[in-house]
């Protein structure tokens, strides 16, 4: 390279400047990296290790092998119920995505006031989830809840329904609240996807006389695939992280009807102080999450939720 032709002092200067720059780069990276090492990487490894140990507060831990996993799979009915509920809770994703897709198509049209509609529909997303839980508890209230009141006024039911206290209705009721909160977010993601579809594709199709329904299935849906799967992955993440809503609305009850893996981990760890067993449940939860997220990513063509990485 040209550098070889330079006189020696100049070369040294460049080398020294490059060295200084590298020091600066690593200094700038260090604070953020320290946080991720401390609160992501280290906990993940620690958690894995903990799941193979007998652990009690203030005592040295002992090796337990697969004891906790064995107990979980063979004897722990609550674990299985929480696992099953986590899968059911994932139904939030497809339902909310369908609704969000319809809404995105509507607010993408050149109608008046579409920005107002967008804001209103998105408004529930940034809310404090605990407050959302309080609001929906009140809406579902047996005596004076708005939902029971409307259903009774319409003559759809005779007796008020105890939505959150009944085994069969508790989980679906929480899912409705979850959809209410997340649908606006999905709508915005899908809208961004819709707007990135080049309009000349539709123009060409219209010139060729392609019917609108065919345009939707042949142009819109295929090009929207990455956005749709991004929503799907976010929905999966939500089913593993919806702690706040469950905790506030039902506390996992009645019985364990709305127990998710994440609420179960919390109860085992911080209610019963069984960190070791909770760590094992966490590992199952995390592996499941990772598997599903990677699957979703792969189905989306490998780039859902990816940030372009240019070097």
């Amino acid at each position: 390279m040209a550098g070889l032709a330079l006189p020696r002092p100049r070369r040294q200067l460049i080398a020294r400047r490059r060295h200084r720059e590298h020091v600066l780069i690593w200094t700038l990276l260090l604070p953020a990296l320290a946080i991720f090492l401390l609160f992501r990487i280290l906990p993940l490894i620690w958690n894995l290790w903990l799941s193979f140990q007998y652990w009690e507060p203030g005592k040295p831990s002992r090796f337990a092998g697969l004891e906790h996993y064995q107990e979980m799979v063979l004897f722990d009915d609550v674990f299985w119920e929480a696992l099953w509920n986590t899968f059911k809770y994932m139904a939030t994703a497809p339902l909310a995505i369908l609704l969000a897709l319809a809404l995105a198509l509507l607010v993408d049209r050149p109608i008046r006031g579409r920005n107002v509609y967008r804001t209103i529909i998105f408004l529930s997303y940034p809310l404090t989830v605990v407050a959302v839980g309080v609001i929906w508890r009140w809406l579902y209230d047996e005596k004076v809840g708005l939902i029971n009141f409307v259903l009774r006024e319409l003559g759809l039911i005779d007796e008020p329904i105890r939505f959150l206290e009944t085994y069969a209705t508790a989980l679906p009721s929480v899912i409705v609240a979850a959809i209410w909160q997340i649908v606006g977010f999905f709508m915005i993601i899908l809208l961004t996807g819709l707007q990135s579809i080049p309009p000349h594709l539709y123009e060409a199709a219209a010139v060729d006389g392609v019917p609108r329904s065919a345009q939707f299935f042949r142009i819109t849906l295929p090009l929207l695939r990455p956005s749709l799967f991004l929503c799907f992955v976010i929905g999966i993440i939500a089913s593993f992280t919806s702690f706040d809503l469950i905790y506030t609305m039902t506390g996992g009850g009645p019985g364990h009807a709305t127990e998710l893996l994440v609420t179960y981990v919390y109860k085992v760890a911080f209610g019963r102080t069984e960190f070791d067993y909770a760590a094992a449940v966490t590992m199952v939860m995390f592996s499941l999450f990772l598997g599903l997220a990677l699957l979703g990513n792969w189905l989306a063509g490998g780039d859902a939720g990816r940030i372009e990485v240019s070097e």
Binding site: P31, L42, Y117, L123, F149, F185, P226, F240, T282
Partner: protein, 271 residues
């Protein structure tokens, strides 16, 4: 797309959905200012004898100012740290250096680790650091958000290199270039960082629930949850409290909607 069709059915559908989205807000505000017994049946659709008594009640019967103070302190720490850490890391990632590929891979991998999957060791780590039940302990895990680092990186990448080059030829030191040339051009990323880290910190619940032990350190969502646990839904003050928790977040969101949405969809947008 198709302007010839009547917009009326579209408006009708959107208005219906908007109603469903807004009714819960209305219902909680209505309850919080209802003067009568909130358990009267049938519930009135309009507030009866509206007053603000429940708000006064909530302010004084629970340590609302204390919760508010904690929430504000933690949010301020999180916002400040995010701005500094993410801007620094985002800037470093615009440079080429050995090991950069691995750092980016590491960050992307970390994005796949939900905080919920690390709560137990995160609690133990915070305990070892002696930060349980402190403001710093509440804020520390949220000191940097990976998505925000990439928001900064994208913003820095969009700044014309010639501008930085010119400053460098003039002999301006790197650190001053960063502060005086690049940061002022990164206002959109700063805004996005500010909004996202504020909202996430403001709404955070699980982490404060785990690491705070006494009421003096609790944040607003935690206070709301504790209030609910204590009184069930027996009093209108709960809903006044609820409105007061929601108001700041909603206000910030309405003021900075564009930045908020840009941050959230930065992962969705391609190219």
């Amino acid at each position: 797309m198709n302007r010839r069709r009547s917009a009326f059915p579209v408006h009708l559908a959107l208005a219906a959905v908007s109603l469903v989205m807004l009714v819960p807000f209305y219902w909680v505000v209505k309850t919080s200012i209802t003067g009568e017994n909130i358990f009267a049946y049938p519930p009135s659709l309009l507030p009866v004898e509206p007053h603000l008594f429940y708000y006064v009640d909530a302010w004084y019967t629970i340590p609302f100012p204390r919760y508010l103070f904690n929430s504000v302190v933690v949010a301020a720490m999180v916002i400040l740290a995010n701005l500094v850490f993410n801007a620094a890391a985002g800037y470093a990632l615009t440079k080429s250096f050995p090991g950069k590929r691995w750092i980016i891979l590491l960050l992307l991998a970390c994005m796949m680790i939900p905080f919920h999957a690390t709560i137990i060791p995160a609690y133990l780590v915070t305990g070892r650091l002696g930060l349980l039940n402190t403001h710093l302990g509440l804020a520390l895990p949220a000191f940097s958000h990976i998505i925000c680092i990439f928001v900064f990186k994208a913003n820095f990448d969009a700044i014309p290199a010639s501008l930085v080059q010119a400053a460098r030829i003039d002999g301006v030191p790197e650190s001053r270039i960063l502060l005086k040339v690049i940061l002022p051009l990164a206002k959109p990323a700063v805004a996005t960082n500010l909004i996202l880290s504020f909202i996430w910190s403001w709404n955070d619940f699980l982490w404060p629930l785990i690491i705070t032990r006494d009421q003096a350190m609790q944040t607003l969502p935690l206070g709301l949850s504790a209030f609910l646990a204590q009184f069930e839904d027996a009093t209108g003050a709960l809903y006044a409290f609820c409105v007061m928790v929601l108001a700041p977040g909603l206000l910030v969101f309405l003021l900075a909607q564009k930045e908020f949405i840009r941050g959230l969809t930065s992962g969705a947008r391609k190219g």
